[in-house]
Symmetry: C2
Subunit: 337 residues, 2 copies
């Protein structure tokens, strides 16, 4: 079975679990609230469809980790839904915080319903993530539910800590490349680690093998974010579904920018003049590239993906699911741009 065969088998079931989790029974008068969640998840409203829904990467990682660790992936569905809901909670609040009007080419929740209701929709999604875990008590057992509930709560806190740093860096002139790692560790890597951790844990792994899955997820999460930063400046606009150089225009302190600022070359002095005009953004991207930021970022992504794959190898994954997991990791960490 290839990654795509697994996708075809798992994704419809994930989608069904997500729908069940975000449409609880007995909620009269709450149609608008649950309509907001359904819109955000890509199921209804303007532009609804698979593209709006996203790739459900976190659910796939969790289910494949469970299968590769010898478990029954269907028993892990409540957790696969929970990580996806937690991710989407963070996106809803993120869009408010960044004042982003669009996500995946569609108006964001706050742009449609105002900040107050969008904060609340995010809070509801946060609660639903925790509620979704409950069924682990039946599909696995109470000890696994208890461990998963603790893990999800701690992951949520670390997400907010990463988000705090990301926003705090906006007002720091030159935070330095080293400041990047704790930020993306919280914002991205911890949740990806929770996926591989939960998958392996629900399969019954403990000790060294469980730790190998955790390390795999952590390194993969870091690689994923670094690669995303690369695409945010040098990615193909058509493939990305947004304009080129987006991260430069928004002034995001991504890894290439932090590298450029620390380098104190022409990029840094131009950046410090404040605000990049749209017509100069390609020039800024070229400056960064000349100063080595692209190469540095690409190397980091490749190295982290390599470390992730080594950790996965050490976890002794079962053959077909393990190979699919490896293919997914290479897709996310993109060892070659």
């Amino acid at each position: 079975m290839t990654l795509n065969t697994y996708r075809n088998e798992m994704l419809p079931v994930v989608e069904e679990a997500l729908k069940a989790a975000t449409q609880p029974a007995n909620t009269p008068g709450q149609e608008v609230l649950y309509g907001m969640l359904s819109y955000h998840m890509g199921w209804e409203g303007l532009g609804a469809g698979p593209k709006a829904a996203g790739k459900r990467v976190r659910s796939m990682l969790l289910l494949l980790s469970c299968a590769a660790a010898g478990g029954n992936w269907r028993a892990a569905l409540p957790a696969a839904a929970a990580v996806e809901l937690l991710h989407n909670f963070s996106l809803i609040h993120d869009d408010i915080q960044d004042k982003s009007d669009l996500r995946r080419g569609r108006p964001t929740l706050w742009a449609l319903h105002g900040t107050a209701q969008a904060i609340n929709a995010g809070d509801a999604m946060f609660a639903l993530a925790h509620i979704s875990l409950e069924s682990l008590e039946e599909s696995a057992n109470q000890a696994i539910y208890a461990a998963a509930a603790k893990l999800l709560a701690r992951t949520s806190l670390q997400l907010t800590q990463g988000q705090y740093l990301d926003m705090a860096y906006e007002t720091v002139e030159n935070p330095g490349v080293e400041a990047y790692w704790p930020m993306i560790w919280g914002k991205t890597a911890v949740l990806i680690r929770a996926c591989t951790d939960l998958g392996a844990r629900i399969a019954g792994l403990t000790g060294r093998e469980l730790k190998a899955y955790m390390l795999f997820g952590e390194k993969l999460g870091l690689a994923y974010q670094v690669y995303d930063d690369l695409l945010g400046i040098w990615g193909d606009p058509d493939e990305m579904g947004k304009s080129a150089h987006t991260d430069l225009l928004s002034g995001k302190k991504s890894l290439p920018v932090l590298f450029g600022l620390e380098n104190k070359g022409r990029f840094a002095s131009r950046w410090q003049e404040g605000g990049i005009p749209e017509e100069q953004v390609a020039e800024f991207a070229s400056l960064l590239e000349e100063e080595g930021a692209q190469q540095y970022t690409r190397q980091k992504a490749a190295q982290l993906t390599e470390e992730a794959l080594e950790a996965l190898h050490a976890a002794n994954p079962l053959q077909t699911a393990g190979e699919a997991l490896m293919a997914l990791a290479q897709e996310l960490g993109h060892r070659s741009l």
Copy 2:
């Protein structure tokens, strides 16, 4: 032991548990985020002190319910901290949603740090509420932790549903008195019910007795909110720490206002002209009183408090803690204004 004796014994321990829960170890670089939480909880910054901290009503209800149900209240401390943190998460987001500049006479978090960081501080508080429960696994056992984690997650969702209705009613001209109950059920009563539920559950109660504690909490929560609505219009400004007629000025659809609107008398037609000027607010309050809204609201609060006390009686609480619980219920539901 009287209610005050219990307060003197329990509150310092609650405060200690809350501080431990909101100051996790190993969070380098997160001083500002945790400083925000500490400020909101009333421990530091401008105007810090017991008045800024509030009365910790929810923790007290939980611990007294545990003691009255024959349990060791110290075993319930993780849950007492969790309900207080969940309440404070909702206050932080509420202040952003209502654009309230002041809470308990102090600038609100968003007024000091901006909306983006305040949303995040609320999210962190939400996560910490769930994390706080974890220690129940040691102080009680795994089954109780699992039950408490589920209860907290469901309570969180119902909170967001109540909050949704509250905000949705802002744009509905005359939602009707009946629309009030599902809104305050979610916004206030469910969390108060979770307090008495968790306290009794940690004490080991099940079945009919547990249900009696739940009913006690639910009725008390409704009474508490109805009484709060009464004070929001006719309360003593000195005692309340805010100006008189606050709820009328902000246009809040509280119970007396919903009663007045449904009554379609002079209050309703004046209200529908839009916006109450500050110099006319006393006149509006008098109109409401003449039309019977004050008496109606007072009767509802008294009736609900009575029902709460009946439920508590049916729960067979142990003597001294039960009496303290009764005194606290009377304080919160104020059978006489």
